[in-house]
Symmetry: D2
Subunit: 340 residues, 4 copies
């Protein structure tokens, strides 16, 4: 709305971050400051996560006009884990429409633990970012075709969203995840009893295998930053200019990431940082500055709520430095923040 005719011209003629070199210098400073943080514990519930080095640290940015900046271990592959929840939602909502998807899953923060065995007052999972909701979302993806085709479909979508950059698969992680899946089986049987799944879902083992397979997709900090930038850019990949996610699902996934993306710290994160984000147990984290850029952060040590310590710290520094907070005032601001 802010005098969009002017803004649009600006966006078309200028770059979204006019002073790129200065901006990248500031980001490098934040990257180095966060490197000093030694808090948190690497997840240990499966060996594939436990073996990750706590020293890995990577930051990668991709703007909506395709400018890139990367620092640290940005080529190191890691599993997307729960970050997949955001993209799976975007993919299925583009495929089926929000109405169909939200007849199966709500939009509310649950106020409960992310893996708690509970449904909302209409017997649906609270939202697509908690485990129950994410499992149902996964079960909706191309639900009438076979498992191999369903996996291929999602992987292709991930590749499009990532502008054809690195997307792999870590089979050992998948096999470990499915072997420690008691809670997710409990959740799924509870949801089956409450008829939360689409009619086509016959085998919970298949449904959960698919869910764990998508958690075990591998990316690098660089490729995941491109995926985030696609969400920042209304669903159009800035690298390929291809439309991967429809506008409304893209808007909606940002809403859900904003309110529910950081596990049980979501409320605090959206208050303090004011940006849509999604974290995963591997230490991966994406942050979206809508209409500006996607950011990927990767550092395995997690805080007590399951979010990357360095990742969260970086985000706080980011919004202290730049006027990226959702509700920063563009005119009467506090004069301390720079406008990149």
């Amino acid at each position: 709305a802010p005098s969009i005719d002017i803004v649009s011209r600006a966006l078309q003629t200028d770059m979204v971050i006019p002073n790129w070199v200065t901006f990248v210098d500031q980001i490098r400073t934040l990257f180095n400051e966060c490197k000093e943080i030694r808090e948190g514990q690497v997840a240990t519930y499966i060996p594939q996560l436990a073996r990750q080095s706590p020293n890995l640290w990577a930051v990668s940015l991709c703007t909506v006009d395709g400018q890139r900046a990367s620092f640290g271990d940005v080529k190191h592959p890691f599993c997307v884990q729960s970050v997949s929840k955001a993209f799976n939602y975007a993919i299925v909502a583009s495929d089926l429409g929000a109405d169909v998807v939200h007849s199966y899953v709500g939009q509310e923060p649950s106020g409960r633990l992310f893996n708690e065995i509970c449904l909302d007052s209409t017997n649906k999972p609270h939202n697509p970012m908690v485990n129950s909701g994410a499992i149902v979302i996964t079960s909706l993806i191309k639900s009438k075709t076979n498992m191999a085709d369903r996996f291929d479909f999602v992987l292709n979508q991930y590749r499009k969203i990532a502008g054809n950059e690195f997307i792999g698969f870590n089979n050992a992680t998948f096999l470990s995840e499915r072997a420690t899946a008691d809670r997710n089986y409990a959740l799924s049987y509870f949801m089956k009893e409450n008829r939360c799944f689409p009619k086509e879902t016959e085998s919970l083992t298949d449904a959960l295998d698919f869910y764990f397979q998508l958690c075990s997709v591998e990316v690098t900090c660089e490729s995941l930053a491109v995926m985030a930038s696609t969400l920042a850019n209304g669903g159009v990949c800035p690298i390929t200019n291809e439309t991967c996610v429809d506008p409304n699902p893209c808007r909606d996934v940002l809403s859900l990431m904003y309110s529910c993306g950081m596990y049980d710290a979501s409320g605090q994160f959206s208050f303090n940082v004011g940006l849509p984000a999604k974290s995963g147990v591997s230490g991966a984290m994406i942050v979206v500055v809508p209409n500006v850029m996607g950011i990927c952060l990767f550092s395995p040590p997690l805080d007590s709520l399951g979010n990357s310590c360095r990742g969260v710290a970086f985000c706080k520094k980011l919004v202290s430095t730049f006027n990226f907070h959702n509700y920063d005032c563009l005119v009467h601001n506090s004069n301390i923040k720079s406008d990149p």
Copy 2:
């Protein structure tokens, strides 16, 4: 961030809504469409609310550059009720700083009923928009002075935020509210047991009286729209150009309104409408389009969750018509929405 140098110039030289006449025509259409809605029930728990006509319907806008538009019963006085929670928070956070305020109250959506007798895991109220949090917030306002001065202080702040437009007081509403206050007394004693109040709070009767008095402040749709526009404008009243709320508290109250402002429909409202809003049991409602405008809606019939039926319907139409949703993409949008 979006090429702010250009945007800023635009904001300084042009009006934020360039085609004002067209825009006002579109708003008039939405106003008339919503007039047809006959759903909802006027609140009846006190006679002062029960007597409100269900036919009252008013919409008033005020942009950050002071342009105004009003439709319907915009001079009819009504009590702010829970809309006061937003302004009380903004006032006390400007006075004491966010750190002090948030040592008493959290920032998370509670996932519970707005008046449920519960605290968060640190024994604080979940946020300043649920009753428990709002009562504590009120108790923090000029807590060391006498009741008369405290009331005067807030009323003066309200007047500044409203650009000196109509601010009154409905004593009958106050007297009725305090006479039906069992739940709020239960909440307050529960909080007292958990040491939620500042040391200075000696009398719960005084604390709740003050809380109810601020709920009983009277406004009109016009004056409350100016109050909303001050929040849209980073805390600077667009009518007087006076700074009334500090930038950070202004940003923070918008965050809290976004996630917690619409009672137990907050998650759904922020997902569907994507704008910070706060409703009250009188049928009052404010909506903020950050950096653009404040809107006040007034219609007494409420839905089952306590929000004005016409008010909510107006907001949904608003974001279907204009690209005002928080996460509407400015470039790759769906081409259906107009850009006012």
Copy 3:
């Protein structure tokens, strides 16, 4: 304790109900009165239960000295369903001792629904009468042998407890139960995550199959009354004089039936009736008058909490007629109740 030397002589020389003919006449009257009750719904979640006639009604008694009385459809076979929970607990506590058993399951009424997915504050099921506790109890029975031998072991114990009267197996019920087991699978995976099962439990499918098989054991009202009388008689079957349940487990199962045996009506039932009882979804119900007799009631229509309507009504009439309530005073009583 009440002058037990005298009581003991009485119990050894006289019959526990001296005026048997009068007593049986009174019971017949109660039986006929309850026949008029037409409330309740037959369970329908599996066809084998749905097909039960709502008109079936049977009452059978067996005293601790082996006197018998039977009214109605007392030879009609039905599945024990949840009544098995009481006997399974008694069997495993006799086999392993209370200490081992209660290291896996608590003794408290849960205050929650009988099939709610929750554990107590030490992460154990609340008690052996809720589904979670009963599943764990079943998993403890001869846990190191094969499935066939485990089933045979329990069936043999049931036969001993029933004085070799009718014990059958309804395979169709078993197959239907296991096919509608979502909630119990959810519970079991939740418990597996919380390490509620013994180490030997490798397959939840096996564990639940065994649990459902024991629910599908068939009895008649007559044979189940003998089973109840064994519990009334300190674990010694009054028909065979064989010790089937050890004294402490027998005492303990009565405690648990008293506090937790009637699903979510347990508190009200123990208050009003004051006798240990256990009901099942087939319409089966046992009631124990300790040191006096076991009673079996059978009538398929259930009240909203899952207990047989006629069964509960019969029990209320029983304690209004006789001084059988746990806390009826033997000397200063209300003079209205007869002393059989």
Copy 4:
């Protein structure tokens, strides 16, 4: 029921404990064994409780035929605290009838903390032994007369139940209790909102004052043992032979003490000890062996759930030594327990 014609003769001609001297010796042994227990903490939330010596230890018995035995500090006065809940219920149920009383309060164990702010599914307090229920019970006592007469009425009833032995009042305890009453005020306002009180209850301050006054009634171990023996004897005081509590309320209060009398340890206590009991924060505790005797135990150090450590230990030893457990089998017992 057990051959009651014979039992009754025994009860009328013999003493209920035939070998009194031996029995008293065994009790003395248990008293001395428990004296060694040094666990637990004296309650400190008010100074009057905090000042109680942790060394105080008293046991007093009174049989239904009036035989007495006392050990330790049996003349030391202490406040009944929550033990009053049992007698207040018995008094009001005798006065108004169970139907009236239970239209205000349930009979179920709550499965929650004794002072939790919650009601049952019909919006009544769960039972008369949790704080919410006890406050409502108190409000029902002679609800239409003035405060002084209401207090006198209860005190007179207490004196009758205690066979005119010591009943006093500790005004300092009352004043301290009312000054630390936040939780009980929260509970009471919550109940007022839910219309839990009788119409006559206008002032919550009066209602809570009365409740705290009854908690502040003073007894000695000896006089409270007589009160317990009246409950053991069907409501007839064994010392005066006066009927103080009607038979049904007497039966009902024993049911409630059995299921809900020991705070959050009630389930475990009834499972292990199998006797109706009620404890208070002063370290007081009564235990009833129905038809045999009342027992008072007094020792201020409490376990984590608020029950007297020595008191609970004494009860466990008692039922290991004698066949007093509710469900001990009188014939086929474990041969270890003596039959006093």
